[in-house]
């Protein structure tokens, strides 16, 4: 006898494809926010499936902090070529040069918060009315309240207390000129689901996710990679460790973990036994209890 139900991963996939098709149907000029991280790679893969045999009808938009892992940029460029989609790059360096934002000062200065301005500028410049992101509700408590279709006012801001109710799968993407939406097709996925899906679909991901030898420094309870942007503090020294990254962001703030997992199977196994949340190694989230909520209100990813 045939079975008439989906397993959870197929159901999540089907839901994400539905969301992506709704974005295409309800907006004029949507883009996929592409960071080179696994979540945006999965979203891009889902978009490919949602519109097959057509090409992905969205451009990829990358907000480049200038502090990149070279591997991420190479991966991005290869993928764009393979998919035949347009790439839009918003440059934080350019925003700094133009005086739109100023570099943070001090010991733990990062360009993380500066990305918001660059992102909103790029959205405005390219007349984007919906930016599709790989945000997941399990990542963080402010994200747990996100809608699939999330409204941003004409300053690009999120008002978490005044969100549109979202019932059944009836999404309302109506907006006024100058406002935009963020859409989150993998809202209901967890980190584990993402890895299981990458495994099932054999999706390529940057080599940084796999265990590899790397020069690192111990800082804020995680291994921060050595790079041209890293300034060694007193008492800090460079070690050579076998590590991998659970999330990919700005190279200056993305911490790695010691690991031997060098295949997707091993990573999935490792993640299932993991006792720390994945953003536990992101110093941008450690600044205060509400740092994600505060950044999201201003227009962050």
């Amino acid at each position: 006898m045939s079975k008439y139900y989906l397993n959870y991963l197929d159901e999540l996939e089907s839901e994400a494809i539905y969301v992506l098709r709704e974005v295409w149907a309800q907006f004029q000029n949507p883009v996929i926010l592409f960071s080179g991280g696994k979540d945006s790679i999965v979203v891009t893969h889902l978009a490919r499936k949602a519109f097959y045999p057509c090409k992905i009808p969205f451009a990829l938009m990358h907000v480049d902090t200038g502090h990149n892992f070279p591997e991420t940029i190479q991966f991005r460029d290869d993928l764009v070529k393979e998919l035949g989609v347009k790439l839009i790059v918003g440059s934080v360096q350019k925003s700094i040069d133009q005086g739109r934002v100023a570099e943070e000062r001090g010991k733990n200065a990062t360009r993380n918060a500066l990305q918001t301005t660059t992102l909103l500028d790029a959205i405005e410049e390219h007349r984007v009315d919906c930016a599709i992101g790989g945000g997941r509700r399990d990542e963080e408590k402010a994200r747990a309240k996100e809608r699939f279709f999330s409204h941003r006012d004409d300053f690009g801001q999120w008002d978490p207390k005044n969100q549109r109710p979202e019932l059944w799968n009836l999404f309302n993407g109506k907006h006024f000129e100058g406002e935009h939406f963020r859409a989150f097709p993998i809202s209901n996925w967890t980190e584990m689901d993402v890895w299981n899906y990458i495994k099932k679909e054999t999706i390529s991901i940057p080599s940084l996710y796999f265990a590899h030898q790397r020069e690192v420094v111990w800082r804020q309870n995680s291994w921060i990679p050595n790079s041209e942007f890293l300034k060694l503090e007193e008492n800090e020294e460079i070690h050579l460790k076998k590590i991998r990254f659970r999330t990919l962001g700005d190279i200056t703030i993305t911490g790695g973990i010691e690991s031997d997992a060098d295949t997707v199977e091993k990573i999935a196994l490792e993640v299932s036994a993991m006792r720390q949340t994945e953003r536990g190694n992101r110093s941008d989230d450690k600044r205060s209890e509400t740092s994600m909520e505060d950044r999201k209100r201003q227009g962050y990813f």
Partner: protein, 418 residues
């Protein structure tokens, strides 16, 4: 046989006083879904607040305002997985002024957990939550009688709640109701079987959630396929003639070779193939996202519905709806709204409010007909063009609507077609 590896969505309505946050915290904690850094953060906060041990309720902490006020304002979604299933919790506030959030959380749920404080028994709030669960046609309701530790784990207290509950719920339309005596605080019958209540022979909550039969929750009888968008490659030569209707099966089962009718045009055709990225499939059922190719070249656009000729939804312009008003601005009499039904959008007008439900007594009020925030009313709606509808009771996907205010673009109401 177990339905392994399925996704179960459930909603928990209640306030802090019912122990809702503690229950969710307990489920997450005992099913080992809490990470060390989360545990550490909660331990620190518990200590700072002077609590002994870990305050489980803190695992569901939300936005800054909610933390400051100690309440849930909005729906929060939480996730955990056991070897048997993946779970999505829609954690909603239980106070009367948040009816709209309860309705939102209930709209996608397979199951509802309704919390009753064993000391207080069935109260107005219990009735309200049960009414919303039945209004939204949540297939399974689990009444958790909490704080059993505070009534000496007494079977009489448990039975009294069941009797009271069955008394008022007999008129409601919930097919599957279960009762479980628990103590969220101490963990009795949440994940692990309680040793304090030998008189209870049923399963603990988690086991119940893991084994609820949910495969039949989707309507598998009435074939409905709302068209989302049309896939037509432009440049790629090999696929240039492809024309697929992309969408998600709302209900029923479709197979290649099936005769179909396109609504509202009424044209007939046959399914040539049902396609996915991986290739063609032999059948598509809810909630699969697929692309349907037809034998004939017919003009079809977003909002149309592919159905079977011998089982069609009604095409109506005048519909009766149980409407829950979601916005702080009340409904304007005879004003026009956009109505969204599946992928179809039309203009609609609320012609008449038939009655309002008093959400506490559950009585019908035929006098007060203002539709304000959190009100639930039976109304008559007229649309500019026919909608292809089923009753919500028979089909959640094709029996639900939302109203959008075109002057603000906000979603102002949600409705269940009667």
């Amino acid at each position: 046989m177990l339905d392994n590896n399925q996704l179960l969505r459930f909603t928990t309505a209640g306030s802090v006083d019912d122990g809702k946050s503690t229950l969710i915290g307990r489920l997450l904690y005992d099913s080992k879904s809490i990470f060390e850094d989360q545990l550490e953060a909660v331990e620190n906060t518990s200590k700072r607040k002077g609590h002994e041990g870990v305050d489980l309720a803190l695992f569901t902490d939300g936005l800054r305002d909610e933390r400051e006020q100690g309440i849930t304002i909005d729906v929060a979604y939480r996730y955990f997985t056991t070897p048997k299933r993946k779970f999505i919790i829609a954690d909603t506030p239980g106070h009367i002024q948040y009816t709209r959030n309860m309705v939102t959380g209930a709209s996608t749920a397979n199951a509802a957990i309704i919390l009753v404080d064993a000391r207080h028994g069935v109260i107005e709030q219990t009735k309200r939550h049960s009414f919303i669960a039945s209004l939204l046609q949540i297939p399974h309701v689990i009444v958790c009688i909490n704080k059993m530790d505070l009534v000496d784990y007494s079977e009489e207290a448990f039975i009294k709640v069941i009797e009271k509950y069955e008394e008022f719920s007999s008129k409601m339309l919930v097919k599957d109701v279960r009762f479980i005596p628990i103590s969220a605080l101490n963990g009795d019958n949440v994940v692990n079987r309680s040793t304090n209540m030998d008189w209870y022979q049923g399963a603990p909550l988690l086991h119940t959630l893991e084994t609820l039969h949910i495969s039949s929750d989707y309507n598998k009888v009435d074939a409905r396929f709302p068209v989302q968008t049309i896939l037509r490659p432009q440049s790629d030569d090999s696929n240039r003639d492809y024309r697929g209707y992309a969408g998600r099966v709302a209900s029923g089962i479709f197979r290649p070779g099936d005769e179909v009718t396109i609504m509202p045009s009424g044209f007939n055709s046959r399914i040539k193939s049902i396609d996915t990225f991986e290739g063609s499939v032999e059948q598509a059922f809810a909630p699969m996202s697929v692309s349907i190719v037809l034998e004939d070249d017919i003009d079809i656009s977003r909002g149309d519905m592919i159905v079977r000729p011998n089982n069609k939804p009604e095409a109506l312009q005048d519909i009766e709806v149980m409407l829950c008003w979601l916005h702080n601005k009340p409904a304007r009499p005879r004003a026009k709204y956009s109505i969204r039904h599946t992928t179809n959008e039309q203009t609609a007008m609320i012609q008449e409010v038939i009655y309002k439900i008093d959400i506490d007594s559950l009585e019908r009020n035929h006098e007060d007909k203002e539709l304000g925030m959190n009100d639930i009313c039976k109304v008559k709606i007229r649309t500019t063009k026919p909608l292809m509808i089923d009753s919500y009771r028979e089909n959640r996907a094709t029996g639900s609507i939302i109203l959008i205010d075109n002057t603000t673009n906000e979603t102002v109401a949600a409705g269940m077609i009667v």
